[in-house]
Symmetry: C2
Amino acid sequence: MVFVELIVELLNITTGGNRIAVLSEQTANQIGVHSSDRIRITHGNKSMIAITNLAEHFPNDRIGLFEETEAALGVKGDEVVQVNLASLPESLFNIRAKLRGQRLRGKDIDAIVTDVVERHLSTTEIAAFLTALNIYGLSSAETEALSRAMINTGKTLNFGRGPILDKHSVGGIPGDKTSMLVVPIVAAAGFTIPKTSSRAITSPAGTADRVESLCPVNLSMPEIYEVVKKTKGCLVWGGSLELAPADDLFIQVEYPLGIDPMLLPSILSKKKGIGATHVVIDIPTGVGAKIKTRQEAYTLASDFVDLGKRLGLNIQCALTFGDQPLGYGIGPALEAREALTTLMGQGPPDLREKALSLASILFEMVGVENPRYLAEEIVDSGKALKKMYEIIEAQGGDPKVKPSDLPVGPNVVAVKSSKPGKVLWLSTENIVRIARMAGAPKDKGAGVHLHAKLGEQIRKDGILFEIYAEKTSKLTAALKLANELTPVTLSKKPEEKMVLDIVPEKLTQEKEFIIDR
Amino acid sequence: MVFVELIVELLNITTGGNRIAVLSEQTANQIGVHSSDRIRITHGNKSMIAITNLAEHFPNDRIGLFEETEAALGVKGDEVVQVNLASLPESLFNIRAKLRGQRLRGKDIDAIVTDVVERHLSTTEIAAFLTALNIYGLSSAETEALSRAMINTGKTLNFGRGPILDKHSVGGIPGDKTSMLVVPIVAAAGFTIPKTSSRAITSPAGTADRVESLCPVNLSMPEIYEVVKKTKGCLVWGGSLELAPADDLFIQVEYPLGIDPMLLPSILSKKKGIGATHVVIDIPTGVGAKIKTRQEAYTLASDFVDLGKRLGLNIQCALTFGDQPLGYGIGPALEAREALTTLMGQGPPDLREKALSLASILFEMVGVENPRYLAEEIVDSGKALKKMYEIIEAQGGDPKVKPSDLPVGPNVVAVKSSKPGKVLWLSTENIVRIARMAGAPKDKGAGVHLHAKLGEQIRKDGILFEIYAEKTSKLTAALKLANELTPVTLSKKPEEKMVLDIVPEKLTQEKEFIIDR
């Protein structure tokens, strides 16, 4: 085994995950490593594994360390470290076994997840693993082992005894602000519901983006304990809590590939991480959602229930109508407005109905009699709104905020129908693209406000939707896109258009990839 | 679309392939990119796509460029560039289609290969593509399209009219120095045989490493033309010729994953690149080789012949004995010695027999009568040795070199048998590990010299093999490994050892991954 002493050169940039060390080709030859082989770097009594990156013009007496490596080793520039060839991690052989289609055992999966979290596996190797999982699928035992490994490598919250309730949507329809109603309804009934949510990646708003229009969402663990102690609920961003750090890294790799093989372990590991005991899972189902058919939805639901049992989680899944956006507002502030308005008793009926239904399911799971009645009473009496204001205040927001206080626009344009007709189809995908082009989720006041929903009659020159933008340039771009895409389809007779698509001009439709965990 | 102007900061290191640009998170937000999204960087009238890498503490007014990006754009430090969000490459959608199991059309594969060569796809995306190909397999049409795309994006050699002969081994048994005999035999018969080979990645010696003990192998295209014009043959390293640059990148990603889904396109694209018309493919078959069973070998052979027809290449495959190493020497100089000795008429019979057989197959393919007789006559008359010296001289080596001139060792240790017996099994895998531990292929004089081969009777204290090393520390390490591994198994009666392996203590044996192209 060849050991060499090298002088540290700090590169002052992050690599976005991998622990990488840069060596000259000559130094690499001396140690016996190739690009993508591992080296062990030792500094005093600390030691770590890094993946090698060969550089042509790098000095032979130096090793370049990116910020991740530097931080893990606690080393300064111009200090000397010892470097030698490290063997391949055992987990890489487990990944290779999965590439050949083999079932993995619990300890194989533990090794992979641990090495992902400790950055011993490169993104290339993680990508191969996730691709193989996506193609072969996972057995129940593998799904359980992955969930447990992700829980064990993550942080946990502990709210003590008694049922801990939670609600989760697998995502997929724009405008779904249901969590902003379910949390205050459940908390107002006296149950604990510490809700963590994600920010939008491919959608115009995640729940964390919506709530951020009202109050801070980037709370620390002690702050979350404080808020939940005061109000029984919270609506915070889960991204920095490290409930399942392996999953955060998996998602980074899955995103460009458009694959999502670990949906169940990803969601349920985080539910276990916050200590949930009873969870309602919303599965929006329909042409506008991630899950297109009932058959798909039932399979997913039964997998959720099964995995829940294995992990000791009480789960009920609700298949919900997913053919169009929920409510009218799409975009962080437009949606926060609508959530508040609905808590005040004046919102869109589909949003109210969905929130009451999901809250009732949770109530029924913990033994409440007349659960639907309780949920309705809590909203209609104003208790849910009061609870929402308590949560907003506890998280550091204004407890007197009115829907009209939330800035939207200010640039607005209405898109009108050139002919009369009944709304036959709303393309959620195209509405998402228009809202994002208008600036959502980054510009909180940007988005789309629908005027026409499924089955509604539109007159000639009637408004189909309005586009809101903070910047005029984005409004122009979004309007241009809206005119190209025709996101709202009015009814047509079959004799007007019989050809649905032409093959081989186009590969089949991309499956939408929506992460809203 | 947001354009920002940023000042270039040169990072003076390579990333090993990807074109990566570093941005601060704030700048990325301003442009609207996430980590792994693409940006377009414009400088004067040049423009290129790079993959974004977000860095936490990077200045907001700067963009960090790695050497690959800097070179592609021709930009200097502190110059200003324009940056905006770029759409995802079309080829990424083709990769996603393959992840869903779809067949790809010719133009989809062209787009992928072109974007691999132009570095528009990240190693993560390439890893997912190769994993999917490895699991789903490739149709004949896909295999052909991949080969053509790799040829079209590579450089080509043109030796004019007349048959251009070539020989290739799919690799797998150590000590296989057959090419060093086939090339001079074929060239001595007056046929053109411009042989390119690889260096060892996982084996103790590639043909390029072996030949390098005798003369330079890193020749430029004009130098290769010169050598082949003079001698009709050459034995050069193909790695820097860019015959199939896409494949060079694929291999980088395949290596840590231990997968090899593109074996056929990878090999035959390079054969087309050098202009070959008639190729004999050696498929070593046996427990010691990459291809373990005849059934596997016949399938591979018929795939080779089929792809050859589609590409206009005349191919014959030879299944060869692969249960043990070829000859006795393993390691660059030990093998070069043995090749010369065999050309002189005194080498191991298995090496001579294999070289004569493969040369005869080529002769027969181009219409020679009595092909075996011709091959034997060329060796026995000394014409093959004379031709080898001509090639060595043309490539810049010593045309009078004798086997004993090649330095081996100088540290040598013999491993002896503790009991008498007949050689039942030689573990090529373990012999490879011992030779590499001794320093091969980097230390040219290092390796293993076998004394016992299959079926031979060994007395107590008889020599099984010798280990050669340039450094005493490596000799010690290799000897230690040899004592642990027992690479030579002497015959045993079944009642002495009935249990072959124990489940579930161990996942099944890794498939060996040997690249020798």
